[in-house]
Symmetry: D2
């Protein structure tokens, strides 16, 4: 049925029963520091000064592709899956279009957008169905796509990238699952690695966890079953600094299992709904770590698909 | 069926009948200047020097999001279509995961990747089923995804962006459909707009054609039915300069209808199979044109999905 | 990620917070007459005697295909949509498989299963998130597919079909939207049309509403915006008779707008969760009506896709 | 882009280069016995007499659901895959629609239609890109769906079903892969099992091959890698009898590996393009075999999706 529909069905669809009444007292975090109409959160910290300053970090002209290669065999949070199909529309037994024989391949994607290297838009993580800036699920997250906080609202993320090498910090080849990055860890790693963290930064943690996918002894089961990552105090610390995004080389960015039993993805909540900070997952930071590169120009232009929550991405780091 | 299959069926599937015999005499263009194993074409022109130099173009710290917003109503080359569905997996009538009530939205994409702002990977356009570096369709373009030339091979495109304002060149608010950009047009526009084009550049043409989508008098039918764009001499000229990518603010980058009757997408063939140059479509260059910005740092990090031909993108321009 | 996952993530996923506590007092309807483990409801009324008796209705050997043809342009309840793509896997520029040149077309379906001619399985319609036999949404309706009440549990529906011609009953070419079929209407139509309704029957209502799709003056907007159909008293009456399924030649089977303002799909609730009766939508009953056929052998074999809620179908009537 | 497009692009899309010229001399089989415009082949053998006669085979009122349950783990011909996703559109944190709290589950299917129990429509199998009634791939099998021979043309298949128990014939619990059913085998099995085969019949072969999926020692790899099945002489014999459809309890119906090296799916070609006979795969015939039921009423109503090649089905046998 086309978009236009007449009044009768529209009325019926409007008959939503029992939607949560506007809560009289929203939690304090539910009001964004960027105003009640804001939909992009910490992306507001992108200023010309910061972008210009970040571009100044390009001293060697080396680029790093942070998005790992993703396919139908990439470990994903269940029941997420994807497939790609390639076809040659209408070209079998023809020479394509025109006397110049224009032939082409096309492709179809069927699947979930939260697989592999991904950005969590501000509509992704919530606290008991309340999301960034106090939006409740019934209000903005219809099946046809997010009406608020969709990733099409975000122009991209450009700024100063900071990479903290947590494997180096913990003195190990690969950080173990269940290892939280606490406020103290972050401070110590930053100091030892000669870098500071400030407002508008994109902070990426390297654990070498991706060695479980493509290293000498791949173990995708272990990769997907748990992970090292950001802890609660670390998340609160980064939020207090006003960072724009936090990423890691793991599927979920934060520590799993959680530090405290019974908690699930608490760092997501601190960053996203409570502070409007973007989360980047499955970022391949290993080459940055090998090169000892701790600050760089970070550029992410995610596809701006209307109503989308997450997106498969490939941010570029340049130093 | 899982990936592993036994010998009997594998043998059967290998029984491909009548595949085009390796042609004794491939056309000259079918051998890449970057060697017989090359899969990334003009992306080989990305050098640290060029990237560093392009970063030097950032003088104001202003970013431009070149990817237009795309949705199920975006005009697309038939029969391409897409949809996004948002859901809350397993959360209806629950408070999500953990005592901290972690709730989340997820999303599913069903559709074609060649919609809206897109990169054509080198596996997209061919001449009578032969593609970049002489690969033939039967050899690399199976239904399960490209085995050669897939977009996962490309780390991204970073370099000097050049925007030529063809609306200004033609002295019009919006260039008419069927208007080709010839070698002479390109030279004249570049000279008048004070910019040169060189090896490794990403060249973008502005026609204001997107006003047909979101302007005062939207006409998506007209938008999708034809377009102004690169002509044959223009394509040959840009290829001779060694550019890395060519983009435009239209759905097909090149002029439609073609300059010569009976031709279809000939400029695609000159750029892609014959020279390994990337094509970028539906790039929203209008703000660059309004600002009179003709050179800038261009950063594209496309999602690296295994075997993919095209990808919905959002390149970032920074000046 | 493959099906096997280790304990850490499994534990995390099990941390569902605040799921509705088992209600102390379920409504009376939430206990099925076919026992607490029953998942097929009124399909339990299929007995060899009834099937044999229904087969005895075949006196002429004429078959009727009740499933209308469905495509991407079929009106659907928003945001449902579908597409079909045809391709020739790995066959462009080859002669397919084997020396015998086996070539083939394949097809991909992307979309919602509740489009066009469809069966609503018992997991479809609920009362405030409670479904047939008292199952609550959080308990059985995960994103990976229904763990209870999925259509794979149903072997099919075979029995005596009864067609009531409501257009004839109301003395009109096509019944108007908003016209409810009440208990009295059903009784009167059945009597006038010389047919009785009994336990295990499949009852189909004809209104000629599909003329809005393929008649002389198609009006798909009107088709999808409202409809004539079963009213509340009619639903209760049919449930009291113990029918197995109720269908109609409209997209939603029951009257829209509802008889009482503020009500939405109340007949669905009476039939499905409260009585375990199947619902069939977009059944093309017009040829039965033209032939004056009011009872017949009805055979539905829906695809048994694991965890599916609805299915596009094509039941066969034979008289 | 909507369906209507203007002349310029339509003209471009019509510029198909080098489509196979109409062959002067089509093979003899390329002209259907049912006339040049026929699109349903052997379904033309359905007559009221045969349907009525088949209904007379219902002596006990027992139904058999021939479609096996299919899910994302069902072995499939590569690269086919499928997934089902269940969601509650717009219902999280609401009580659904209306004061009566109408809640509902919906589902999305992403995947290939040639998985599990399936009908191969007459547009499926060809000989070097020529299909039933002489249609060539470039002429009817565009990406947007088949314009000829689509399954929407077929009203369903109703007739006399015949089950030949080949496990019994070969005196084994399960027939081995690579075992062909020859003309002699078919004649011998039919005679020993007391059944004849005639025009318009649907013939199903039982091998118990499905025990590899759900038996005591499941081996899905073996299931999908090869199979027993119809041989070339058997296919020619059945075609000579004028049967309407041939099915089996295997993924491909015919013997794999083929009887003659270098051949691939030759029986498909004999049945489909050369004789317009339908093929049914993954039919669970085991209960029929256990009951010793060799003839029955067969009813298949496949979903009539416009342009579809194959369809997941669940035919019903009734005796």
């Amino acid at each position: 049925m086309s978009a236009t529909r007449n009044a009768a069905l529209a009325a019926l669809l409007a008959l939503t029963a029992g939607a949560a009444a506007a809560q009289d007292t929203k939690p304090e975090w539910a009001t964004s520091q960027w105003g009640p109409d804001d939909e992009i959160g910490a992306a507001n910290t992108m200023t010309p000064e910061r972008i210009k300053s970040a571009a100044g970090l390009v001293t060697e002209g080396k680029m790093y592709s942070l998005g790992m290669i993703v396919g139908s065999d990439t470990p994903a949070f269940p029941p997420r899956s994807l497939s790609v199909t390639v076809l040659q529309p209408n070209q079998t037994e023809t020479s394509g279009l025109g006397e110049n024989a224009f032939t082409y391949n096309d492709d179809i994607f069927m699947g979930w957008l939260g697989i592999g290297p991904q950005i969590d838009g501000l509509g992704h993580a919530g606290v008991d169905h309340m999301y960034y800036n106090g939006h409740t699920v019934d209000e903005f997250a219809g099946a046809a796509g997010l009406s608020k906080l969709g990733l099409e609202k975000l122009p991209g993320l450009v700024g100063r990238g900071v990479m903290l090498d947590m494997a180096k910090h913990f003195g190990t080849d690969m950080v173990e699952e269940g290892t939280p990055y606490t406020e103290d860890d972050i401070k110590a790693a930053a100091e030892a690695q000669g870098v500071s963290i400030g407002e508008g930064d994109i902070v990426l943690f390297n654990s070498n966890w991706m060695n479980l996918l493509d290293g000498d002894a791949p173990d995708p089961e272990r990769f997907g079953a748990a992970e090292p990552g950001l802890g609660v105090s670390g998340a609160e610390y980064l939020a207090s600094l006003g960072v724009m995004a936090v990423g890691a080389d793991t599927w979920g960015m934060e520590v799993v299992p959680a530090e405290e039993e019974g908690q699930a993805f608490r760092a997501h909540q601190i960053l996203q709904p409570e502070h409007g900070i973007y989360i980047l997952e499955n970022m391949d930071t290993r080459e940055l770590a090998q090169d000892g590169v701790h600050e760089f120009l970070f550029v992410l232009g995610q596809a701006r698909i209307k109503g989308a929550v997450q997106m498969i991405i490939n941010p570029i780091a340049i130093r």
